[in-house]
Amino acid sequence: MTLIRKPLSRRSILRSGAAGGLVLATPTIFTSRAWSAGYLNEPTGDTVTFGFNVPQTGAYADEGADELRAYQLAVKHLNGEGDGGMLSTFSSKALGGNGINGKKVAFVTGDTQTKSDAARASAKRMIEKDGAVMITGGSSSGVAIAVQSLCQEAGVIFMAGLTHSNDTTGKDKRANGFRHFFNTEMTGAALAPVLKNVMGADRRAYHLTADYTWGWSQEESIKKYTEQLGWETVAAVRTPLGAGDFSQYITPVLNSGADVLVLNHYGKDMVNSLTQAVQFGLRDKMVNGKQFEIVVPLYSELMAQGAGENVKGILGSSNWDWKLSDAGTQAFTKSFGQEYGFPPSQAAHTCYVQTLLYADACQRAGTFMPSEVGKALEGFEFDGLGNGPTLYRAADHQCFKDVLVVKGKENPSSQYDLLEVVEVTPRAQVEYPAELLGGELGSYNNGV
């Protein structure tokens, strides 16, 4: 079931590689703050360098590998190679497939290890040594927030990858940071009505929550929205990150009187807790005269693969799915599938889109200067990137778009077809006032 890596074709590597070489060869001293004029790492040659900072080791390594594939694909498309992917469906036509602002796109990669320290070290290398003007990537909120604040301090743009915590564009938002992915607040708003429709308004929920900021934020959102619709929360229990065996947290659910279990876990924790909850027969149980249900608020394809058949029929939310029927999704899936032989994950999608959005903003701004690029992104309305009409809200640098409610498929046709879209929750329903999540953007930092 592994996603087998397929190398990039040699031709494309040579072409973009030759461009990257120039940047790498530039001695560091010339890329330091003192020298550059307008803003940090202003590209002076005929290339501009992006920093792709993804987990390559640790639990999210496969997700990181998928993100990296998407980034490489995006770079190809930006440089006019391949079929252009979503560039052809993107509502903004500023980009012409000849690089950005006349410069070819080159990139450097690094390993976040899903640790804040390692991620920041890697991002710093890209900024200090490789002269990256933009950092993007990540597969967890702690890392995203850590790298985002680093980019703010250093003075480059950060385009967040997969990060779902409210804090990224809430409490910890930064002027230099932008997020396309959705958050726990939107998950709550989108998921709760579906849950009510499917399971009824009279439900008693039991939460198992990963004991760190994202988990708490997820728990709070689901609680808030389900309770508004009449659900009752029986208990919310914190579980240590990476607990492995969750049996001691699952057994109390059995006799708690709850009839819904909400697993506020992500990644391996979710794979393990869901597998074990199903093993405990929770899904065969009748409580209060109702069928017992399990909910996983945030889904990903890789998690669904890891949990295997246990995901069947389980509801959750998702940022995007390759089986959507709009033109953007189809173009991207086609382009990615032909390159690598399997469909992209939502992590790959958000990373691809972020790269395109950044490139487009630079092109429209006519510069790579963070403050100008940021202004071009702020309040930007676009379409054709797989999520329908989308807004990059100026107040918190968060994208607002439709949210998918998905369900584990009962009869998957292939190993990539594990989730089915139950409902596309319209954007209007998941919007919230920017003040709700607090935080302060501050002002742009250009690094000089």
């Binding site: 590689g17 390559q56 080791t57 990669t109 804040s116 320290d117 920041r120 290398r125 040594k129 990150l241």
Partner: protein, 377 residues
């Protein structure tokens, strides 16, 4: 034969070391390591490993929880920033003090046992600190996100002074990021090295080696090993605390994962890899591991194709395919292989390798010398 190096040789070693550290930006640039962040990491982890070696290398007590002190130092430094201001000096002092106190408490309990029992006790304390910092202690540590300085923090002494600029530590108006940050760390590493050198040659250092060699004899010689080991434990905890503070001085964010057992394990590996009980070894080990982590992980197929571009096509593709297993996402594989090779062929770490080369050199020059004297007879 192993006599203690003479004071002159020690001075020479110190001067060469200091010069090498201060010129790192120059001589590390050709191998791609000459940028501020990695240089800072070399200095900081070098300091951490030096301190760890004072305990492990001299007394033989293997602490598997030293990352806890790194974490305590980090959190203390950030809290000092938050409360007092962005000057690195009070932050460093507070971090050393806090980690020292923490080390006294943990050391007092853990040193009641020796050998692996001691290792597990320290591991247990560190893991408890990590788990709590990640979850329950979030009000103090800001959990997974990590503790940072916020604009709303009181910062008694400089709250008014800073406007909208980035919240980084500043010493007399110089921001402690980039190269100034590296030189600040480098100076502290040199001071730390100097202190370690003094301790190695001091009566106290001799006593610590006596602890490692034969605790029973030490007891019957009228010496109480406990205060010696505790003192070593606390000193090395303070080194770790200072290293933790420096991590935050160069980059004001303190995360809980710094306290995880993997971080403790890393410093153990650095020390053994470089050569435990030697002055320079742990610093070399730290540099090597950090180099692999930051540089080897950054290679991707693109870079490899560029490097091996000179090869003919039919060679280039397999060579790139094989090398790519060891770089990029495979950098840990290289590290694992390196650990095994070094320990198999160089018991005693990298320093052992150096001394072997040194011996070979001396032998061959010695042979030459006798050759030359032969005709004179």
């Amino acid at each position: 034969m192993s006599a203690t190096p003479t004071p002159t040789r020690d001075l020479l070693m110190f001067v060469v070391f200091a010069a090498a550290v201060l010129t790192m930006p120059m001589w590390l640039a050709p191998i791609g390591a000459g940028y501020p962040d990695l240089l800072q990491k070399f200095a900081i982890y070098g300091l951490f490993a030096t301190g760890f070696n004072l305990l492990f290398g001299l007394t033989g007590y293997l602490s598997f929880g030293h990352a806890a002190f790194l974490g305590v130092g980090s959190y203390t430094a950030v809290w000092t920033f938050k409360l007092l201001g962005m000057n690195p000096i009070p932050a460093a002092i507070m971090a050393i003090a806090a980690s020292g106190i923490f080390a006294v408490a943990i050391g007092f309990v853990s040193l009641r046992r020796s050998g692996i029992y001691f290792s597990i006790l320290t591991l247990a304390f560190a893991q408890m600190s990590y788990n709590l910092a990640y979850s329950v202690l979030t009000p103090i540590t800001n959990g997974e996100t990590g503790l940072r300085v916020l604009r709303s923090d009181p910062r008694l002494f400089d709250a008014a002074g800073q406007g909208d600029g980035p919240l980084v530590s500043t010493l007399f108006g110089i921001e402690m990021s980039g190269y100034p940050g590296f030189y600040f760390c480098a100076v502290l590493l040199i001071i730390g090295f100097f202190i370690a050198q003094r301790i190695f040659r001091s009566p106290f250092g001799t006593m610590l080696r006596a602890v490692k060699s034969n605790q029973n004899r030490m007891n019957y010689t009228g010496l109480n090993p406990r205060p010696y080991t505790l003192a070593a434990f606390v000193i090395s905890g303070m080194y770790a605390g200072l290293a933790g503070a420096l991590l935050c001085i160069t980059d004001p964010l303190a995360g809980a994962e710094r306290m995880q057992w993997t971080a403790s394990g890393e410093v153990v590996l650095m020390t053994i890899l470089g050569g435990m009980g030697t002055l320079l070894g742990p610093i070399l080990g730290a540099g090597l591991i950090k180099y692999f982590e930051n540089i080897f992980s950054a290679f991707n197929e693109q870079t490899l194709h560029r490097i091996f571009g000179f090869l003919p096509d039919f060679l280039e593709t397999p060579v790139v395919a094989i090398t790519s297993l060891f770089v990029g996402e495979g950098w840990q594989l290289t590290l694992g292989v390196l650990f095994m090779l070094i320990v198999i062929f160089l018991p005693g770490g990298i320093m052992e390798g150096f001394s072997r080369i040194g011996r070979m050199f001396r032998r061959s020059s010695g042979a030459k010398g006798s050759h030359q004297t032969a005709p004179a007879e």
